[in-house]
Symmetry: none
Subunit: 218 residues, 2 copies
Amino acid sequence: MKQLSVYIVEDVKEVREGLRYLLSLDGEINVTAAFSSAEDLISDLSGGGRADVILMDIGLPGMDGIDATKIVKENYPEISVLILTIFGEHEKIIRAVKAGASGYVLKNTKPTQLSDQIKSIKAGGTPISPEAASKLFDEFKKDEKITLPGDEAGIYNLTAREKEILKSIANGYTYKEIADIFKISSATVKKHILHIYRKLDVSSKVEFMKKVINENLL
Amino acid sequence: MKQLSVYIVEDVKEVREGLRYLLSLDGEINVTAAFSSAEDLISDLSGGGRADVILMDIGLPGMDGIDATKIVKENYPEISVLILTIFGEHEKIIRAVKAGASGYVLKNTKPTQLSDQIKSIKAGGTPISPEAASKLFDEFKKDEKITLPGDEAGIYNLTAREKEILKSIANGYTYKEIADIFKISSATVKKHILHIYRKLDVSSKVEFMKKVINENLL
DNA sequence: GAATGGCTCCACCAATTGGTGTATGGATCA
DNA sequence: TGATCCATACACCAATTGGTGGAGCCATTC
């Protein structure tokens, strides 16, 4: 297995060197650089420096770890950023993950666990501790709402009209009520809905609602 | 590092033995037993058998992986359950995680990734693939809603029978189908549903579904 | 024992839904 | 210039749903 190239960004020298030492114990991990500020990191990356994973402290002097994460992910999306944090920094963690961080680990994580988590990022896993999971989940949901309806054709190739009808149905209106809203015949509404059913592969309002709500089609 | 003891629960022999072989390639993982049914697993645990991680298939004959997970977590909470699934089983995954699963991995995950994900569970991580993450997030949010406001007031004072009917309706069955399932008249089913509607303060299946799904009444 | 509440069932009704046709005008596209 | 898609609309039909009333049986509770 190829070695993982890891950068460390942490302002406190003792922590920085401690991390470097701890990670050096894992043969699969190679700490190729360590920086005491986000600015130094950015400057290295601009100069062609690369890493598989960046271990990023949040509380950095100058540019903080969140903004740094944003810049890294915007310019070098292939690099995974793992946020280093202390217990209780929920909100910062959320902002960091929204900025593109792949996950986070607590600073008091055991050495072996830290190695495993770094490796698991590249293996497709997302290390998240349960404590802050629900908050994180909320935020992700908000993101979804932004990204989903913005799409043009829609996931099921629904036409613009069909999307309108879909929303109305999901909001509990009957065919007749929807007909009044859009000033069309209820027969037309029904026609639209049957088309929607076909596209969503459902055949009743119950199935329809399950799909709409579970897949956040609103 | 101590070896991780892993159980496999998977009904298809080829898959089961394939997993056992793949995991045997990782020195830190020790597959101590493999079962073809949830019942066999439970019986082993009852007899004193233990594992650090259980790799659990969802689609098992007899007791399915979700119920099995529930039982395992209720009786042996220290055991982590990792759900083995195929792409697209969103709903089941959600239910499995709610049942206490530590995460899930897709069946087509690469061997090395699988090992890493198993190890990352015990390292505190939660292996979740991004595809279904947002859905999972939604569900967690819903859980929050339940535990916070829906306290002692009970779940709308529904009787045991009404809860059964509620589930069936939410699963898309018609009155008639439910009548067949419970061996009662469809008139009775309808009566129950009208009672449920009153208690939930709704008056159609669409409103009903919104409430059931959003407040996770299943 | 009477009252209450849960579960069962019946009849009857209006409204809604699911599904099938067919058809017309407009836009778009090959 | 056809062909196709979209939105509109109508007719007709079977099934399901939402709502009302009443009623019997059983267990628990007061």
